[in-house]
Point group: C2
Chain length 317, copies 2
C-alpha cells in the first residue's frame, strides 16, 4: 500500500501528478487540514508537501500528530515555522536550486522589459500609434544595458545566476549579501551602498525577518529617478506601499515584479501604473524547473519513508 | 562657414542635434530633396546623412550633382544602391557595431518576453485574473531557457553579441552564416539545418537580395509548434505573410519582432495576434547607442570634408 502524503497548499493538479503515481495523496488544497479531513485520517499522515510561502505554524503541524516531514515544493521555506518544526522533531526539506535558472531568467525578462519599456512599445505598435507617426515619449532613447551598473541583492544560487546573466549584457555588476562570496563582482557591505551605486536593483535575497521590508523608501530614493527595481524573491522584501509611492511620483523610473506582499493579490495602485511590468509569480514556472523541483520533493519523500535523512533538508537558524 | 549636409531620411530632431552644432543642415526629412530644396541649394551639397533602410537610388543621388559622401546613421545600408554610388564616385559610410549591444539586448528582451509570455502574464495580473484565481492557460508551465537550443542566423557583430547573451542563459547555441566563424557555437551549413535543430531562431543576418525572405514557410515549419522566431535585423528577411499564417494556425508558438517589411507599418493580421511581442524598431534606440552612432557619422563627415577616406566606409560587393 502506498504511503499517505498530505498536500497542504493549493497546487495545480499537473504539478502533483508524479507524486500521485507514487503516494496516496490527501489534498487539503490550501484549507486547514482539519476542515477537509477527519482526525482519524490526519492521524495516519507522516509527511506533507507544501509551498514554501504558505504560512505553516505549530498549530497546523499539531493537526497531524504523527507528522515527521514537511517537504517544500520550491526553493523557499519562509512560510514554515522552522523552530516549531524542530521542536516537534519534524524534518523540513526544500528543492534548492531546482528553479534557480528559471527564476533568474524571469528576473532578466523583467529587467529588460522595464528598462526598454516593452509594454509601451508593444502597445504603440498594436494601437497604430507607430504606423500613424503619432509622437510618443516611448520613442525617446533611454539608457540601455551597456556599461550600466546593476546591483544584485543576495548571492545565493539565484543571485549568482542573475549576476552571470546580467554580466553577459556588458554591464557592471555589484552585489550585497551578508558575506562576501567568491564571485567576480564588486561587493558592497551594505544594501544602502549598493543602492547608491547601482541604477537597477535585482532582489534575489531569501525572505526572512532580517530582510523584511529591507527595500524601503530610503533605498528606493538612493536608486534615484533613473533607477529600477526588480523583485523575483518574495514580496515581503519590499515595502510595497513605499514602492507604489516611488513609482507614482516617479522618484524611481520603474519596476519589474514577479512577487507581491499578499499573493495572489497585486494592489490596484500598482496595477494602474504604466511604469511597471507585473508577472503572477511565474519565476520558477517552467517545465524543466517543475521536473527538477518534483525530483527534489520525491527524493525527500522517498528518503523520509525509508527512514533516512532528507537529501535536501533545511536546517533551522 | 560650416559645410552643408543634407539630411535625407526623417529623423527625430534630437538625433541630429550634434550634427547641427558642426554643420549647416538642410533637412529633406524623408521627402525627395528636389521637392524641398531648389536645384541651386542642392548643387552646393557634397554630403548627406541617411538612414540605412531608406531607399536611395541613382535618381535621388543625381539630384545632388556634387554629392561625394552618403553617410548612414546606423549599421544598416541596405536601402543604399551601392553600385549606383560607386558608379558616381560617391563614398558610402555607416556606423558599424555602434548599436550592436543595444540591438542584441532587444533581441534577448523579445526572446524572453515571447517564450515566457510576458504580455499575457502582465495582463493576467492587471486585469485581476490572478487575484480572482481565474484559471488561465498562461499559468501552465512552458519550456524555459535551460538547455534550450537557440539558433542564431548571422554571425556579424550583432549575431555574436546575441549568441554571447543567449549562452549565459545556460542554453545550447548554434548558428548559420555564409562561413564558419571562430566562435564556440555549433555551426550549421544551411539555414534549414539550423531551423530543424533549434526551437528559437534569432535573426541577425544583414538584409540583402541573398537573404530576402530567407525565413519562409518552410523554415518556420521546421521550427515547429514549440518554435519561436525573433527578428531584430530587417523585416525583408522574413516572408511576413508566411509568418502571420504560421502564427495564426499555431504551427509555430510565437514571435518577437522589432522590424517589419514596410515600416512603420505592422499589418493588422500581426497586431491582432496574442502570441507575438512587437516593438517599433527600437533595437538601436538607447542613449549610448545613439551617442556611438553619432560619433561614427561625425567621424565619417569630418574625414570626408578633410579630403580623407571615410573611417567607416562600406565597400560594395
Amino acid at each position: 500500500m502506498p504511503e499517505k502524503v498530505l498536500i497542504y497548499s493549493r497546487f495545480p493538479k499537473a504539478q502533483m501528478e508524479r507524486f500521485g503515481q507514487r503516494f496516496e495523496l490527501l489534498n487539503a488544497a490550501g484549507k486547514p487540514p482539519n476542515e477537509v479531513f477527519s482526525a482519524e485520517q490526519l492521524g495516519g499522515i507522516t509527511a506533507m508537501i507544501t509551498a514554501g510561502g504558505t504560512p505553516l505554524g505549530g498549530a497546523a503541524m499539531d493537526m497531524l500528530p504523527k507528522l515527521g516531514a514537511i517537504v517544500c515544493y520550491g526553493t523557499g521555506y519562509d512560510g514554515v515555522d522552522l523552530a516549531a518544526a524542530a521542536q516537534r522533531g519534524i524534518a523540513v526539506g526544500n528543492s534548492p536550486g531546482a528553479n534557480a535558472a528559471s527564476v533568474a531568467d524571469i528576473a532578466l525578462t523583467l529587467m529588460l522589459a522595464t528598462t526598454r519599456r516593452l509594454l509601451s512599445a508593444d502597445d504603440y505598435v498594436r494601437s497604430g500609434g507607430w504606423s500613424g507617426l503619432k509622437p510618443s515619449p516611448m520613442m525617446r532613447p533611454q539608457a540601455g544595458m551597456l556599461g550600466r551598473k546593476i546591483g544584485v541583492y543576495g548571492m545565493g544560487e539565484i543571485g549568482r545566476k542573475i549576476a552571470a546573466r546580467v554580466a553577459a549584457f556588458e554591464t557592471e555588476v555589484g552585489y550585497h549579501s551578508r558575506s562576501r562570496h567568491d564571485v567576480p563582482y564588486q561587493y558592497f557591505t551594505t544594501l544602502d551602498a549598493l543602492a547608491e551605486w547601482c541604477s537597477v536593483l535585482m532582489i534575489a535575497v531569501r525572505a526572512g525577518t532580517d530582510t523584511h521590508h529591507a527595500v524601503d523608501a530610503g533605498i528606493l530614493q538612493k536608486l534615484g529617478r533613473d533607477g529600477f527595481v526588480v523583485n523575483i524573491s518574495r514580496g515581503s522584501v519590499i515595502d510595497q506601499p513605499a514602492l507604489v509611492a516611488a513609482l507614482t511620483d516617479q522618484s524611481i523610473a520603474g519596476a519589474g515584479l514577479d512577487v507581491y506582499e499578499k499573493e495572489p493579490h497585486a494592489p490596484d495602485a500598482l496595477t494602474a501604473l504604466p511604469n511597471v511590468v507585473l508577472s503572477p509569480h511565474i519565476g520558477g514556472h517552467t517545465l524543466e524547473s517543475h521536473v527538477a523541483m518534483q525530483g527534489c520533493v520525491l527524493a525527500n519523500l522517498e528518503a523520509f519513508f525509508a527512514g533516512k535523512p532528507l537529501p535536501y533538508e533545511v536546517k533551522p537558524g
